[in-house]
């Protein structure tokens, strides 16, 4: 019996048959995997053959909330999108902020399973528990912000929406899933899977309550956690002041801020694209996701120049970096414009920026011939960035189509795959492993390709400075801890940023009082480990192995040329074997029977 937190209902939408079914949430699964990422992964693991083509009809997409979504738990607005990712071929889980997740709960559902393929474009309307698949031909082709507007026009002005843009429709491997046109579940190409299913999106509005199992205890847990977050200097003030882009100066100051496709890791012009500058030049106001006391979201506008008047959400630190420094660009207006465009097309800003950077290096080195480039793709050119993003988003010309497949496939096409700054074909985020050793191990072992939010060791290696970023010792444990914590956290429905203030115990307390499950810190971390291993099992079955747990040769061999981390390379081998051992896996990175038994994953 579900006592609280969860609504206890799952919506299964078969696009092939048009059938929509309501199923019960399985309590034993909820106990073992919580909701969100964990529960969604379990469904994908059980129902989707890991070897399928991610863009085939057989793939499924889970849109999931967690048990803390729709409550007053801090920052509980996350929505998870789980599928087999087309960019990587791995299990994929991307998540976004905003208000969609809570709205889905208020409409009566913990998660939605999208399966099959519609003959014609459709969208799903969920209203107070009543559902309907409706034609979406006239929204197909529209940008995500337009789509959001039309969906709300067609359904309810106060509906929360989820949508793909032209990138997803055209099955770009960089396609994301957007929420209300400005919050993104960005990575691994999840939007392309929906596009392949002719599924434009969801509009949802509900009227149901979300209950918690132990209201009084939950109230206390909420006050306590909100208080901790308010007192913490970052979550209680700094984040609201500068947004995530505050990190530009931090990472650059330690010389781990990759520039020009990671040819170096120090950007002399960083200040021009920093959070401080963004605040001065472009910030209109802060925006917060559901129930979030941190409020890191930016609403910005371009005040002058060619793009004057353009306005939107963001950019986040990662986007400022990928579209800025990584392309050698210090023109903040161009970066903002590129960021807004990515959102409109429904493209992951990180992968898009890094792919542009890759194209620029290919071009400058002469590997990408001039006849393939409609204009010079030179590092540092804001105009080239914006135009390249348009090519990519609209898949115009030969280059546009190539760009839309991401940096790896682009570089491979031009015979230099080593110039793709990616792991398992997914582009790097904004941290140079050569300057922060643990994050390199995290990139290499992440279950969805290069990624910072599967295990944000930056918090310990750089921000709190609890461990030395340049040492290799202890990083395997550190990475495992962060990975497990995040996997469990992503399953509750609250935001990763809460962990700057909250520990596993605090989150476990929120979870326990909301659901009535007795989960302590230890159990919570174990749930995370269980999810992590299940994701690994999926990837192993999909054909991934130790050889894929690696980093681009540049990171392993080319020392950083300038700045505070000058001379550093990443010696991944010093950590990888250790990591497998800490995880209880064999030398090939395969979880042993003992580990699977311990995690109660054997039956599967």
């Amino acid at each position: 019996m579900i006592k609280g937190g969860f609504k206890g209902k799952i919506l299964r939408v078969n696009l092939t048959s048009g059938e929509i079914r309501v199923e019960d949430l399985k309590e034993d699964w909820a106990k073992k995997f919580i909701g969100g990422r964990g529960y969604g992964t379990k469904i994908i693991y059980d129902e989707v053959d890991p070897t399928i083509d991610p863009l085939s009809e057989k793939n499924k997409v889970i849109i999931a909330t967690g048990p803390l979504g729709g409550t007053l738990a801090p920052s509980s607005g996350r929505t998870m999108v789980i599928t087999k990712g087309p960019l990587t071929g791995t299990i994929a889980c991307s998540n976004a902020g905003g208000h969609f997740g809570p709205a889905l709960k208020h409409a009566g559902f913990d998660l939605v399973i999208i399966e099959g393929k519609a003959k014609e474009p459709v969208y799903l309307w969920i209203y107070k528990g009543i559902t309907e698949l409706r034609p979406a031909q006239d929204i197909w082709g529209k940008s995500t912000d337009e789509s959001d507007k039309i969906l709300r026009e067609k359904t309810h002005p106060l509906a929360e929406t989820m949508e793909i843009g032209p990138a997803g429709e055209k099955q770009s491997l960089l396609a994301n899933v957007m929420f209300n046109g400005h919050r993104a579940a960005g990575r691994t190409g999840v939007g392309a899977v929906l596009g392949s299913k002719n599924f434009k999106g969801i509009a949802v509005r509900g009227n149901q309550e979300v209950k918690v199992a132990e209201p009084e205890e939950f109230r206390e847990a909420v006050s306590k956690t909100r208080e901790i977050l308010s007192k913490d200097a970052f979550s209680g003030g700094g984040a609201a002041m500068l947004g995530t882009a505050m990190l530009v100066n931090v990472l650059n100051s330690i010389g781990a801020f990759p520039i020009k496709n990671s040819q170096d890791a120090y950007f002399p012009e960083a200040e021009k694209i920093s959070g401080e500058t963004l605040r001065e030049r472009n910030l209109i106001r802060n925006e917060a996701c559901a129930e979030c006391p941190i409020g890191c979201g930016r609403v910005t506008v371009i005040k002058e120049g060619k793009y004057k008047g353009a306005q939107g959400g963001g950019p986040e630190y990662e986007s400022v970096w990928s579209l800025g420094a990584m392309c050698g660009i210090s023109d903040l207006d161009a970066v903002l414009m590129a960021n807004y465009l990515c959102d409109k097309y429904g493209m992951d800003t990180i992968s898009a920026g890094v792919t542009v950077a890759c194209a620029m290096e290919l071009y400058e080195k002469g590997y990408l011939p001039q006849e393939d480039a409609p204009f010079p793709l030179t590092f540092g050119s804001g105009e080239a960035l914006v135009e390249t993003i348009k090519l990519m988003g609209e898949q115009k010309e030969k280059l546009g189509k190539l760009l839309a497949q991401g940096s790896y496939r682009l570089a491979e096409y031009y015979k230099h795959p080593e110039l793709s700054m990616s792991v398992k074909k997914q582009e790097f985020p904004a941290y140079d492993p050569r300057g922060v050793k643990g994050i390199g191990l995290q990139f290499a072992t992440s279950n969805r390709g290069a990624c910072h939010v599967r295990g944000y060791t930056i918090a310990a290696e750089v921000l709190s400075g609890a461990v030395d970023r340049l040492k290799y010792e202890g990083k395997a444990e550190l990475v495992k801890t962060f990975q497990d914590l995040t996997a469990a956290l992503d399953s509750t429905g609250i935001c990763l940023f809460t962990t700057f203030g909250l520990g596993g115990g605090d989150i476990a307390l929120l979870l326990s009082t909301a659901t009535g499950f007795q989960v302590g810190e230890k159990e919570f971390m174990q749930i995370g480990e269980r999810i992590w291993n299940l994701e690994r099992l999926f990837n192993l079955k999909a054909g991934f192995s130790r050889k894929d747990d690696t980093l681009p040769p540049r990171i392993l061999k080319e020392p950083i040329k300038s700045g505070p981390s000058k001379g550093e390379i990443e010696e991944l081998d010093k950590m990888l074997a250790d990591y497998y051992k800490v995880r209880g896996w064999d030398n090939d990175g395969v979880p042993g029977e003992g580990k699977l038994k311990e995690l109660e994953l054997m039956v599967d």
């Binding site: 970052f234 931090v250 030395d468």
Partner: protein, 92 residues
């Protein structure tokens, strides 16, 4: 000797964006982080007045290296060093 001190984010309000400080040769970080050389509000934001230690999660870099992994407050400064101070931060 001259040391460059840069501050970011909220600390800019109390320390200024960037300044140069003139110190005697061989001075330690501890000596620099005093009202003698920096605005007292700035020092208060960095140093816990009770314990005299650096406040948790304040990040101080000397030439890009976290001073925690050098000699902490006893880190020796040299002419031309660049000191960067961040308030607690996070990101993603």
């Amino acid at each position: 000797m001259r040391i460059k001190v840069k501050a970011f984010a909220t600390l800019r309000e109390v320390l200024g964006k960037e300044r140069e400080v003139e110190l005697k040769e061989g001075a330690l970080l501890k000596e620099l982080l005093s009202p003698l050389y920096l605005p007292s509000e700035g020092v208060e934001a960095i140093i816990d007045s009770q314990s005299g230690e650096i406040k948790p999660a304040i990040l101080i870099l000397k030439n890009g290296r976290n001073i925690r992994f050098l000699d902490g407050l006893l880190t020796k400064l040299e002419d031309g060093d660049e000191l960067i101070i961040f308030p607690p931060s996070g990101g993603g």
